[in-house]
Structure formats: structure tokens, C-alpha cells
Amino acid sequence: MNQVASVATSAPANSITASALRRHTLWDAVLKHGTRSAAITVLLLLGGVIATLVQGSWLSLSTFGPEFLTTEKWNPVSEEFGALAPIYGTLLTSLIAMLIGIPISIGIAIFLTELCPPRLKRSISTAIELLAGIPSIIYGIWGLFVLAPFLQAHVQPVLIEVFAGVPVLGTMFAGPPYGIGIFTAGIILSIMVLPYITSVTRDVFETVPPTLKESAYALGCTTWEVVRKIVLPFTSTGVIGGIMLGLGRALGETMAVTFVIGNAHKIAGSILAPGTTISASIANEFTEAETALYTSSLISLGLLLFLITFTVLAIARLLLLRLQRQAGK
């Protein structure tokens, strides 16, 4: 915590002349305006995206009204559209991804920073970075041709059999085992968010001052206690940031999900059933959406996704603020 800001200004003392001063001032002005316009560009782009989305979705929102959010029906033939199933699918697949992804990611990060022998550390870190570099279409194809058949043959039948008859879980894991569906999409997503959460949490774990950890060890703490009582509380803000980064990726991921989710605009009790997400619906249907209302409904879905990611960010922000306030006490 005791970082001292060091300013690197070491111009030779004897060279300060009027022209040099002017030159410096000019350069500073260029830098100031240049960086400011870069920042404004981002705001303009963001504003443009929002304006385009609102304009594009106007037709569908004015036709269906608030019912757009609460209707499960999605019928391109009769042109009745509702966003409930894609919203449900988006949230549920991301939830599954987080439930699987967070413990594994944090586990990897703890292992890398606290327990891992240095030589192994480098290869594991590289492997995780490579995982982040795989294009999502590859995940999609792998999911469709490798993961889905594997789940269909070996995992889903077991889940269905084990939970059959159990009150809530029985419905959650009801058959038939299609291989593709919400569950598979969630698993693919959990693999995709792993590198994001892992690399952020690993980086913040490394910011824990060694003196703190060493003091704890000196007092006789076990590794578990050091992680639980020193590392995690010290880095909670960063860890939540990493999780949110992963969640953002999971909510918006398109290609990989499109391949394995089954694109059914239905809300089924079972997570093994096919479903759809907002981004998968858009990717699947945009090219062939001929009528204005159909296109507009798909753009409305885009707007919704925008709002959902924005809400997630806002909640993350609030969480962080709260944590900081607690830390200040």
C-alpha cells in the first residue's frame, strides 16, 4: 500500500531556453487535445450505438410495448415477438458459466500465486493465456462436434437418471439428452470465461504485499488461512472486477453459444433442454429476417443486451463502492 509516486522529469538543467519552453508547451497542448479527442470519440461512438439501437428497435417496441419483455412467443410467420426466452437463456447460461467458472478460476489463481513451483507456473500461465486467444468460433465447433456428443453419451444420461424423481433437481435435469442445449452452452461459456477471471485474479493476488503474507505465516497460519483471511479480503475488489469481466463476456458471447444452444424460443424447466440467448438469436436470425418488424425485434433484443450488460456493470460498481466503504471503516 505504500507505493510512492515517482515523477520522471530529468531534463538537463542548462537547456531551458525560451524556444525550448515554447516547444514543450506546444507539445503538451497537442497531447492534451489529442488525448481528449480520443476520449470524446469513445463517448460519441457509445452515444451513436445507443441512438442507432433505440431507433432500430422503435418499430418493435411501439408495436408490442412492455409485453415484448414478458412474452415467450417468437413467431416469425405470424410476426409475434417476445424477448422473455432469450433473456432467460442469456441469464441462465451466464449463471451456469459463473457457477462453474468462478471456483475453478480462483482455484487456479490461488495455486499459481501461493502453491505452484515457479517452473510449472510459467507453463500454466501460458496455457491460460492461450485459452483466451482461441477464437469463439473454434469453441463453437468444438462444442458441437466434441463436447455435445460427449455430454449426450456420458454425462446427461447419468444426470437424468440420478436426479429422476428428486423434487426440484428432477425437473432441472429432465430428459431427453439432446447433447446441445442450455447446459452445454453454460459449460462452453465457463471454459471461455476461465482465462479472464483467472488472469485478473492472479494479477491482483500478486499485488498482496509479501510482508503481510509472511507475517501471517510467521504467526502460524496455514496456507488456507492465509488465502482466506489475508489474500481474498485484500484483493476482493479486484476479484469482483475479474468476475464481472468474465460475466460480461458470458452475457455477450455469440458464436460459441449459437452453435450449441439449439435456438428454441422456449423456456423449459430442464436445463438440458434447448434454449436461446439474445446474441444467439440475433446471429441465427438476422440474415434471413426480411420484414421490418422482424428486423426491428432483433435489434430490440440487442438493445436489451446492452441494458443488461449496463445493469451488470452498475451492480458491480455498487458492490465495489460498498466494499471500499467497508474497508475504510
Partner: protein, 359 residues
Amino acid sequence: MRFPRAALLPSLIASLLTIAACSKSTPTATEVAAGDKDISGAGSTFFYPIASKWADTYKKETGIGLNYQSIGSGGGIKQIKAKTVTFGASDKPLSLDELNEAGLIQFPAIIGGVIPVVNLEGVTPGQLVLDGKTLAAIFVGDIKKWDDAAIKALNPDVKLPSADIAIVHRSDGSGTTFLFTDYLSKVDENWKGKVGANSAVEWPTGIGAKGNEGVAGVVKQTAASIGYVEYAYAKQNAMSHVRLTNKAGKVVEPGIASFQAAAANADWAAAPGMNVVLTNAEGETSWPITGAVFVFFHKQPVKPENLTSAIKFFDWAYGKGAAEAIALDYVPMPDAVTALVRQLWKDSLKDAAGQPLYR
């Protein structure tokens, strides 16, 4: 604690927004700035393999290139209406009113067929026979088991398992889905009322897979499943196809002969704007789920010289391109139909001076 708070959040926000923004990118087609005479087209993904094959050969023979973007039929119609391409291509024809409104003509360029495929143990390719009503009842979810009486009645000699039918359909909007659902709507009132025909429909049951390759993949992996794919896909993947009973009540095998029969039996001359969907066609040898790819031209193009190149290209495709079409498991248009199309070009495509662009 300064690091995560100060450095992480802004980058976090940026990444989240990027992710959100990326998922909304829309396909666009821009006219290529290549040579003046180069042809640009956009639309049907079904048309893409043969269009690129033709483009390749045509470029070698004439030096004129074709840039075809397979952005989907809906996209093709939008692009031709926006005049950003010389021709648009769609699996679904437009009505005469829609054509006139946009100042377009349409003509069929190539024929293809859609084949139901199954994965049933002990059933060899082509062994299973279905009719339209039974197929509709399966896909609507009324027939749930393979040993249903309706299927048994059509297949007295086939040993059918008592397994649940797993239905696989396209998840993405597609001309293949349009032909399939259009056929089911024509033969089954129940399907027409409950589901209807479109490039994407509200499926009553089953799972969606992306693209022909997705449907083929899922059908192959799932026991007791049924799906539908384009003919070329079924053939190249050696899938277990289904024979269908056509409108004339005859059981037909899918293939170039039965697709061409469907096209030849259609009354193209009488249909306004050549608006013909070949599903459930007349004729004893016609395959019932056949469809053509329709190409759209502007009657008064912005650049007549580009349209002239496009007309020459399709003229060539009807003649010399036919053999290449067959090699890729497409079906060339019958001569009677190409004669009609050439007449249409002569009659309706004029330059600014009123001179016909095709002679």
C-alpha cells in the same frame, strides 16, 4: 488496493461495451471497387457454392470477376433494393407486386432439393418412406414414436424401433427451412395453421442446429433422430435419406432427375413474375421438396454496363455452367425455362435510351 480500483474498472467497462457492441454487428455488402465490368451479387447461402464455382471458371474464360457475398436471402433482397449490388439472390421468390414496387425482375437460376434424413439403427438409406402428412405430424409433435401406426402403414417391411423421435431443425433462418415448411404447409392444414412457412418458424418441438452441417452433425450423433438438409449435404455425408410420396401419390427417390422433373412440370410461363415455389409439384416423378434460387435484377439499373455483364454471366451459366452445377449436386434449369428467362431479359431490361440490354 489502488490498482484494481483505478486501472481495472475503466478497462472493464470498455471490454463489456465492446463485447456488447460486437454481438450486434450486422452483415453488410458493399459493392466492390474492382473493374467496372465486374459483377457484384449478394444473398442466398444455398447459391454460394455454385456461384463461386461459376465465378472461378467465368473469370478464367472471360476475365470478368464475380463477387458474391452469401449474406442470406433476406440480406440479398435488402441489398438489391438498396442498389448496392448488381444482383440479389434468394431462395424465396417475391410476389409480382413486391417486384414492381422495387422495380425488379426475378428469374430462377438453379434448382436444389431438401431431403429428410434419419438416424435409425437397421434402416438403410432410402429404405424409409414417408408422405407429407406423416412428415408434418412428426415435426409438429403429434407422432412421437418411430413405430407409430402411420409410419408403419407406409413401411410394412421395415423393422421400426419403439424409440422416441428426436427432431432436428435449423436454428438459423434459412431457405432450406422455407422450402421444408412451405411443403408441409401445402400438404397439411394442421401444420399451416399451427406453424406456417417461413425461413424461420416457431418450431413446436425439437432442437435447432446451425447450418446444414449442424443438422447433419446432430442427426448423425443422435439415435432415432430425423432432420432435413440440402441434397448435396445428404449425398456427400452419405446420410440415411427418406423417400417421399409426391403429389401424384408416387414414391420418389431424391436426385437430379426428380428435382428437374419438379422444375419442368411447373407452369413458369403462367406464373406472374415467375413466382413459383416448386414444393409439392405436379408430375409422377417430381421430388416434392424442390426449390429454385431466384435472382433479382433492377429493370432500370444505375450502371447498365454492370447489368450487361451480369446478364452475360447468367446466360453463360445456363449454357456452359450446367455441367459444373451437376458436379456440385445442383440441378441446372431445364431448357424450356431458360428460354423463358432469356425472353424476360429481352423484354424488360432496358438501358437509359430504351434499348434492350440483352439481345
